[in-house]
């Protein structure tokens, strides 16, 4: 493999490309760009050649967002996490349609063009897989992407589901609806009708363009603040009913065994969580001022506060929240730290507007056990900083 000057510089700067696929070498940048005429305009923009953020696939059914490579709160659409149960389907937008039937006055079919004719709304929201926790074992060489890559934030554009329910004349007696996808899993979830009248969308836009195939092209259900699995992608059908449908995803999967011998069902809400994304593995710190920063989010509304500790949780200081703090969206927090070179454990703790405080691992185990799948696992997460500047994940094994 040819080693370019840029790779050497990147290596010298301590930037490590971890287990990433080899990207073709970009042409060398000129020594002085002001002495060479630049590139002409082009139809489709591209990232700067030196920037190579990548999702990290886990098997064939999911891939996580590289939080350690991102700034701010919006996830670039091509880096939005993906999770699917029957692969990513290819759907012709010209033949796509959404059927709404069941307890309605007028069963109806909507084409994609029909959906786009309705008055639209755009809202910034996170979407998180409820299985978004990768720090269960003893490994320390884990990145923010591996710990919590299955959450991302986009601006979503679409039709409020309430408008479609009015269009079909939804029965006031309907309490649940089934959402069904057009993928090979024909994935189904039951959703309370109240969510439709709260803030559910049928989304076709993501960050200003059409939704990406992995996110449900051409149209998906979007349930702000709720576990990603219920926001059924590639949506083809909605059936209103007066009882839930008890599909496989909401019974044998996506339920939470509790320490008291029960299992929580229809546990839609994603509780508050935060994660420091810098400094984090594999960064090597230099002594001096460090802006600790990361993301916090909650399905219950707005993040009210994020506390940061640089002494392993002995003391906590409120971080600065980057405006605007939006409901059910990633919020960037920042905390200035003067690191003088000693060992330290840095961690963050989110508090949301309902007063909910992000729990410790021990508190989660006390109420939920060490359950094998681990949906809705949102523990306070720490990073170990060593005297030589190396930063690693601080594991708290779950078994």
């Amino acid at each position: 493999m040819k080693v370019s000057r840029r790779d050497l510089l990147a290596g010298a700067a301590g930037v490590v490309a971890l287990s990433r696929t080899v990207v073709p070498q970009a042409p060398e940048a000129p020594a002085d760009s002001s002495k060479v005429r630049g590139k002409p305009s082009r139809a489709l923009g591209q990232r700067a050649p030196a920037e190579k953020p990548l999702r990290q696939p886990r098997g064939a059914t999911s891939s996580g967002t590289p939080h350690q490579d991102l700034y701010g709160t919006i996830t670039p659409s091509d880096l939005h996490f993906e999770r699917h149960h029957g692969g990513v389907p290819e759907i012709d937008p010209k033949t796509y349609s959404l059927l709404i039937h069941g307890m309605v006055d007028r069963p109806m079919v909507f084409s994609l063009a029909d959906l786009k004719r309705f008055p639209a709304v755009s809202r910034v929201h996170f979407l998180e897989c409820s299985g978004n926790f990768g720090g269960r074992g003893v490994a320390t060489d884990l990145t923010p992407q591996q710990i919590a890559g299955l959450t991302s934030t986009s601006e979503w554009t679409g039709v409020p589901l309430a408008a479609l329910f009015r269009e079909v004349g939804a029965s006031p007696k309907a309490t649940w609806f089934l959402a069904e996808g057009q993928d090979a899993a024909v994935l189904t979830r039951s959703v309370p009708v109240s969510k439709a009248y709260d803030d559910a969308l049928i989304a076709y836009g993501q960050n200003g363009e059409a939704i990406r195939p992995e996110q449900g092209y051409p149209a998906r259900l979007f349930l702000p603040g709720w576990e990603g699995n219920a926001s059924v992608k590639w949506l083809r059908r909605i059936e209103l009913s007066d009882r839930p449908f008890m599909t496989r995803e909401e019974t044998s999967k996506y339920t939470d065994p509790m320490a008291d011998g029960t299992a929580r069902i229809f546990s839609f809400l994603m509780d508050a969580r935060s994660l420091i994304t810098y400094p984090a593995y594999p960064v090597t710190l230099t002594r001096g001022w460090v802006e600790i920063n990361g993301i916090a989010w909650t399905g219950s509304g707005k993040i009210q506060r994020v506390d940061v500790s640089t002494d392993g949780g002995a003391t906590w200081t409120p971080a600065t929240l980057q405006d605007p703090v939006l409901p059910k969206a990633h919020t960037r927090f920042r905390h200035l730290w003067h690191w003088t070179g000693g060992d330290a454990v840095i961690m963050s703790r989110a508090v949301d507007e309902t007063g909910y405080v992000q729990p410790t691992r021990d508190a989660l185990i006390a109420s939920r056990g060490v359950s094998t799948v681990g949906y809705h696992t949102n523990p306070i997460t720490g990073w170990q900083v060593r005297a030589d500047g190396a930063v690693t994940f601080r594991p708290e094994p779950w078994t």
Partner: protein
């Protein structure tokens, strides 16, 4: 373009907004935005045939179960041919989801024991879900390719292996919703979060 002309153009551009402001034209009072109608008249009625073609869900009460029937004997060869490569020879071996197995006393240790397999017999609360899921999504190499009788047979076979029905029991639309699942009473509603109105706002 000559420099003088450029300067004139630039001057005009700068002067224009100033001139407009100097005129002090008063905007007419704003019109009231249109109120959204009860319905927009967008979309088209669904035909009965369209609904029937897509309406494949089976509820916990058995609503949606199609005509047809199957027994464990019917399902065994289908399982061996279409399912065993992923779920194991007897449904216990994997590599994918373990489907078969009861726990002593039908215990429910899943929060405490990460190794306890969540099988149809130990964890699934409704037998109807087994039919719904196999018919819509299995097998992954040809999803949705099984005939209804084949699905009934597979459901009978899996329920028999889990010792939930008699080996010679017929599974059909009448019998399947009646199968008592050991985990049925273990599931409790989530109580986190704020209660939301169940009805559309008036």
């Amino acid at each position: 373009m000559k420099w003088t002309l450029r300067l004139i153009t630039l001057g005009a551009l700068i002067a224009m907004p100033v001139a407009a402001r100097a005129q002090g034209t008063k905007a007419p009072p704003p019109a009231t935005p249109a109120k959204p109608p009860a319905t927009f008249g967008i979309g088209r009625p669904a035909t009965t045939a369209e609904i029937a073609a897509l309406d494949i869900d089976v509820g916990p009460d058995g609503v949606g179960l199609p005509p047809g029937r199957g027994t464990s004997a019917d399902g065994a060869p289908i399982y061996a041919a279409r399912c065993a490569s992923c779920h194991g020879k007897t449904g216990k071996e994997g590599p994918n989801d373990v489907l078969v197995g009861r726990l002593p006393g039908d215990a429910f240790p899943f929060a405490k024991d990460p190794r306890a397999p969540k099988t149809i017999g130990s964890y699934w609360p409704y037998a109807t879900t087994v039919f719904d899921y196999i018919r819509r999504a299995m097998p992954p190499d040809r999803p949705g390719s099984l005939r209804d009788d084949e699905v009934y047979g597979l459901v009978a076979y899996l329920l028999t292996l889990n010792e939930l029905i008699a080996p010679d029991a017929v599974v059909d639309a009448a019998s399947l919703p009646k199968v008592k699942m050991p985990a049925h009473d273990r599931f409790v509603p989530d109580t986190r979060g704020q209660p939301k109105p169940a009805r559309p706002p008036r």
